[in-house]
Amino acid sequence: MKKIAIGATFAAVFAGLVATAPVRAEDITIGAVIPLSGASATTGKDQSRGIELAVKEINANGGVLGKQLKVLVEDSGGKPQTAIDAAKKLVSVDKVPIVIGEYSSGNTIPLGQYLVQEGMPHINPASTSGLVRGIGATSYSVVGLDNVSTEFAAQDVIDHGWKKVAVLAMNNAFGQGVAEEFKKHFTAKGGEVATTVMYTIGQSTYRRELQQVEAAAPDAYVFTAYGTEGALIMQEAFELGLQEGKPWYSILITMMNKDTPADFKAGLIGMDVGYIGEGGDAYKTEYEKTYGETFLSAYGGYAHDAVLFAAAALNKAGSTDKAAVLKAIEDLGKEGLKGATGEIKLDADGQRTHQPYLKFKVEGENLVAYD
């Protein structure tokens, strides 16, 4: 019995070793690590759709270096360990020239650091934490970081005449970044953050947190939340009467708008990354045609653009050689590239210099952009 068990153990290990499929030689393959399971799976799905549409678009226009482009998508499981496992596979087994990834900053940072250690080009399609800037030399972002988005939000809140606000954000890498950066910009612009409450995600109620922010008696509530949690927060704020006469402002409003019923979000305003920049209409139409629904999140467009950017860099480099690709990314970052989220230009740290942000207000179920 023991021998059988040992045999089975080795068989399992070697079956795994042998079962690697060689990537077809006629394709150019790049890698992507995104969360297809775990807490951010919905966003991951949106990212994979963005990638799929970008690949279709690129291949319809002649592909990359005269060959067909393929994106090998790996699941990060929403965990740093699994994300790095996936990146190691892409780099050492599939030998991809560029890796795109991940979604949440807590995973993107270790993933990027590993890639930087290997000297591999890394494109961040979603994480907005300020720490992303420090990942290293071969890491680039096609999405603007927190400091840019929260400054926009702080200005918008000030412009509405609200000087004293309470901030409510989720207690994770993203939420902590937003809360900290928002406070910095808001205070610099002459506002006052009366209180900041960080909530743990996945709770069945947020009444305690809501009562805490209410106690600060602010002019307005500023919050950021993911899908169903945002819906619950809005519902409970409504039930507790916190929406009566007090405005609510959502940072990255598209994350939670879809899940929130119209009754609980009357008068809600907010901002988000403009997932549609110049030239993004074609992407939006194609997305809705292919998947039969509107965007699941704001991040599909960025994943789409990360692929466009990678493909353009490969074409510019003329080969998949690491050094040539890195040089091409730098050059392309200076020249700029038109994507679905607008023009992508990178600064000296390889981070996106500016990006479109939109002000939104809720009308019934839907979001309407306004100026």
Partner: protein, 296 residues
């Protein structure tokens, strides 16, 4: 391919060390610890502390071991009052409390964004750093195995097993159960923290997400599948599980399946594997040996 194999094997070694630590507690002493990951976290945050304070990276090891020792003593102290099921629940909640505290203590621990940029072990030897690292991890695994094996074969090991099987009898024979619990927790805590320290200097990133409770249960499933109460078995369990999960993406590539398959398959491997073993082979791949001429 080779690099990837080295990577997976390295992580498997560290999981093996963790599985040995849990086996010492749960397998031999009957200490159902659902908060193992917090002891591991002492090691990772010891490394992070050294990095944050600008100390020599090696200074993180005693720091991690000291934290692990305190936590282990605290766990052991709780065990005096609680029966084993309640102790399991208490350890789970303490591990969660620690994780949440780390998330909130932004100034000290970097909060949810964690601490990045720790020095990579053997980074100077690039691009041949993988093999010496694996060799070191394998050596640590062998040493940990040897220590565990010596302990369970000693007279003290017999006392541990007696405490697991018949605590009342052990007490009536004059064994000090609190002392046994304390010693076992200290030794296994140190082993887990050591694994954490090595892990932190491999991943070069330390964050509270690494300390989620499912990680503890992943180690539990390795121990149960491998064979609880058998040091060979739990190491085999750790290696099999880690390789199975790491190589799922290749099966996907070979069969041209969608990536969603990987996520689902991993869940099935952990949950389904655990269930299958509990139902059909509750003693695991390598069952515990009881009795025999060398069976002490």
């Amino acid at each position: 391919m080779f690099d990837f194999f080295i990577h997976v094997a390295s992580i498997a070694c560290l999981y093996g060390v963790l599985a040995l630590s849990l086996n010492l507690q749960a397998g031999f002493t009957g200490l159902v610890n659902f908060g193992l990951i917090a002891l591991f976290g002492c090691g990772t945050y010891g490394a992070a502390l050294a990095s944050g304070m600008g100390w020599h990276p090696l200074a993180g090891l005693p720091a991690g071991l000291a934290m692990a020792a305190l936590l282990a003593l605290f766990y052991a102290r709780l065990g005096r009052k609680l029966s084993s099921d309640y102790w399991g629940i208490a350890t789970l909640s303490i591990a969660e409390i620690l994780r949440i505290s780390i998330t909130n203590e932004q100034a000290l621990t970097g909060g949810a964004q964690g601490i990045s940029g720790l020095p990579l072990l053997f980074a100077d030897l690039k691009p041949y750093d993988g093999v010496p690292r694996l060799a070191l991890y394998a050596l640590v695994l062998v040493l940990a195995w040897f220590i565990c094996q010596r302990i369970v074969k000693s007279a003290f090991g017999l006392a541990m097993k007696l405490m697991r099987e018949e605590p009342q009898l052990a007490r009536s024979l004059g064994y000090d159960l609190d002392a046994i619990r304390r010693t076992v927790m200290l030794i296994s805590g140190a082993i887990a923290a050591f694994a954490g320290f090595l892990y932190a200097h491999y991943l070069t990133f330390v964050g509270p997400d690494q300390l989620m409770s499912p990680e503890t249960f992943l180690i539990w499933s390795m121990v149960i599948i491998g064979g609880i109460g058998n040091n060979w078995g739990v190491v085999a369990g750790a290696i099999v599980m880690q390789f199975a999960m790491a190589y799922v993406p290749f099966v996907k590539d070979a069969l041209d399946l969608p990536t969603d398959f990987v996520a689902a398959a991993r869940l099935v491997i952990v949950g389904g594997g655990l269930l299958a073993f509990l139902l059909w082979r509750p003693k695991g791949l390598f069952p515990e040996k009881v009795g025999g001429s060398r069976g002490r």
